[in-house]
């Protein structure tokens, strides 16, 4: 088995002193894998992503990206190490055009020709964005913004992509489209992009994932194959309950 793309071990982190949101989470994302983290509100799903992205300081544990220790890396350098992160809210530059948003995604790169190529690739993947490339991202619908955010992150040519609740606020139809795109995105990249998704809309996310983790009270509680989790009665009762999710 190949080394994990992203490896989190016994991670402890929180925003204010002495209040740990994450209390020893461990998880891994292998190369070319889509992994979903689900769990109730307040389980620490978003905090987990922010900590990996370097926005929340960690207190204990390790985070490794292809064997490199991440905590020593400044947040804005993460992209250069191959980690791209799409926050849950405020994930587009509202006053910049779609094209400028995507260009920002590539700001750490210098290979101009390849950037142009990737830009064309994004417009092929998300045709709606190509049609509106000069439009400010703030004028787009929720689903279109989500696509801008994902495309912006992909423009960095990451090896690991982290999506924080990409389905929040989207219509059920849009959620389906989005996750289909997430799956498509992985196939686009020859190098083997790995994707970590945090979701409340667990059913839709698990359907396109390889594996899943259930997070509760700052720890991973249940781990397994995505299909097994979908079938697991405990998971089903707690986290996949009928229309519990926002959608």
């Amino acid at each position: 088995m190949s080394a994990p793309a992203l490896e989190v071990r016994a991670l402890v982190a929180g925003y204010v002193p002495e209040l740990d949101i994450l209390r020893g989470v461990s998880l891994e994302v292998r190369e070319h894998e889509i992994v979903t983290v689900l769990g109730p509100n307040g389980a620490g799903k978003s905090t987990l992503m922010k900590t990996i992205a370097g926005l929340v300081p960690m207190r204990a544990g390790t985070i490794r990206l292809f064997g490199t220790d991440l905590p020593g890396v400044a947040a804005h350098r993460m992209v250069r190490h191959g980690l791209a992160y799409v926050p849950q809210v405020g994930n587009v530059f509202a006053r910049l055009s779609i094209e400028e948003n995507l260009a920002i995604g590539a700001c750490a790169r210098t290979d101009r020709a390849a950037i142009e190529e990737d830009l064309a690739r994004m417009y092929a993947l998300f045709p709606r964005l190509g049609e509106r490339r000069r439009q400010p991202a703030g004028t787009l619908s929720g689903g279109e913004r989500q696509m801008v955010a994902v495309a912006r992150a992909l423009m960095a040519r990451p090896r690991v992509l982290m999506l924080d609740e990409p389905s929040a606020g989207l219509s059920p139809l849009m959620v389906g489209t989005l996750f289909a795109k997430v799956r498509e995105v992985r196939e686009v990249r020859e190098t083997g992009l790995s994707i970590l998704v945090v979701e409340q809309n667990a059913r839709a996310a698990l359907a396109v994932s390889d594996r899943g983790y259930v997070l509760a009270e700052g720890r991973e509680r249940i781990t397994g194959d995505a299909h097994a989790l979908l079938a697991d009665p405990e998971v089903g009762e707690l986290y996949l309950g009928a229309r519990r999710a926002l959608a």
């Binding site: 926005l55 006053r95 920002i104 700001c107 703030g138």
Partner: protein
Amino acid sequence: MIAQYAADGIVLGATLALGAIGLTLTYNILRFANFAHGEFLTFGAYFALVFAALFAGGQTLGPLTFGWGFLEAVAAAVVLTGLLALVLDRLLFRALRRSDVTVTLVIASFGASLMLRNVVVFVWGSRPEYYSREIAVRSELLPGVFMSADEVFVIGLTALAMLALALFLSRTRLGRAMRAVSDDPALARVSGIDVQAVIRWTWLIGGGLAAVAGALFGLTVQISPEMGFNMILPMFAAAILGGVGSIQGAVLGGLVIGLAQALSVPLIGAAYKPAVAFALMFLILLFYPRGILGGRT
């Protein structure tokens, strides 16, 4: 007669606009109202004075009261003032930025403004200075409108600086990064933008533009330790009026405030000049709460 006051207002407005651009830029990216920005104008004017003396000699350019030496002096003042802004940020604002209370920064900038003004008085004295003893001859450009070549130059250079800045912000990587940071600093950081570097460039550019504004004010009016302080409130009014964060808004705001101040002299008397800027700002904000060009969220 009114036309003459309007022409004077445009010259003053051009200077205010240049200052207001720097203010709106730093406000938008650093998220605090920097009251020391006026002193950047003052220092810019005095730096240019020092260099103008060093680069003195040579012919004056056509009908202008200055020669190439003055332009070189302004260029040097731009660099030096930009560095001054950078040093001030390093010594004072950077440490305070870590606290979430923005009012700390605003008050600190007020203190910095006072200190810098005193440094000017200490170094250069409090007597007004001029770049040139030459008399700027005004000729009748339009019926009833007299302007000197210097004043026309001020308007032209301001227009050029604004155009260059607009192109820089929309066409270059750094300009785009600056707009991204102003839009959402946290997202900019996780997108791979070095926010600290962008902040440094913002100070350099904002300080540089203030130096140009200060030198141009010194050219058409006079250089004094209070010049920047006297202009800081009209500059804020201009930036807010136009919509904070908008370059075009700052320019428009500068012109509106400049015109209003100049026109208030014949209409309601010179004593009310400073109040007019604010009366106008309040009035416009009642109808455009985000400023004239600041409509977007």
